[in-house]
Amino acid sequence: MGLRDLALIVLFAAIIAALGWVPKVDLPFAAGVPITAQSMGVTLAGVMLGARRGALAAALFVLLLLFGAPLLAGGRGGLEVFAGPTAGFILGFIPAAFVSGYLFDRWSLRLGMFGAAFLASVVGGYVLLNLIGIPVLMAVNGTGLDEAAVTALSLLPGGLLKALATGVVSYVTRPDKVAGTEAGV
């Protein structure tokens, strides 16, 4: 892994953290799962840096939380995050970044920057993240399937909006040009 890869991983972890300053939205039906810009930072890292470096950026962010940095939207952080019901969403950041990056790289030639980034973000940042986050939420809260469905549905508009934004940003910045390849990472 080169120094530029290291720098990019660090800076995208910092971007995910900095997006925590964007105010979070708490929805009444989302079982306490807030809508934050941070999950967008996660898919953005995957799309911009590729699967491996993107996942490492997300992992670095999670590690910072573990070490006690209060970087989550609303100023939370530390071990208590991993003891709480949204732990699955936080840990899910890592595979979400990986999958978004992987799918973007596979689709970008056929679908173009915008389409590939949008769809990759929907799959990685919405579908996969909820597939990991909601079961953990259910297990901790002891809730049933219909509650899970309501949570997933209430998070859908935010998820689509964030995927849209990721698509536009990719269209503007052209990750295929600026990020370099992942070869030898």
Partner: protein, 207 residues
Amino acid sequence: MISNYLGRETWLHRMPAGAKLAALAILSVVILPVDDWRALVAALAGVVLLYASLGKEAFKRLAMIRSFAVLLAIIAALHLLAGTWQEAVAAVARLVMMILLADLVSMTTTMQAMMAALTPVLTLLRPFGLNPRKLSLAVSLAIRFIPVLSANWEARSEAWRARTGRRPSFRLLGPFIADTFRIADHVAEALDARGVARSRRGGREWG
């Protein structure tokens, strides 16, 4: 700026980070299977006393549980609908206790101590290509650049407001990300100039 750390030193600060993490792990394993609401409430009272033993500042930190209020209310409601009030009390008490115990460790352990305690665990990942020294460098770099990127974003939003009179839009994200790539080039160069990852005798191992 970025730490949950409680400034004033208490007896819990002086305990080694590794011991605190081990205690937290053991307590989690013990608490999770308990179903008796009386036992859980008693244990929760014990945790609250622990906060009190750390002084007024720490005790005030109990208020942070409020950020979980919506969630706790939903859990309580669901358990009340599906089961008994005893189950609701037990579920809420268990969760609150886990969160408070974890926060207790976070607020009395510096990031450096936490890193030092967790590094041996992370070293186990070495066969998978993880270099502990590179990792600690990455953590420091991230903490260093979070305020830099925030300031960069702020400056951009300000320029946007000055020229349009409107609220910053997500259209600023594009140039912001592009700028981040430029900063990455500078950071990589600065790391190189300081000798990181250049092969050299007598220097630290970067692998």
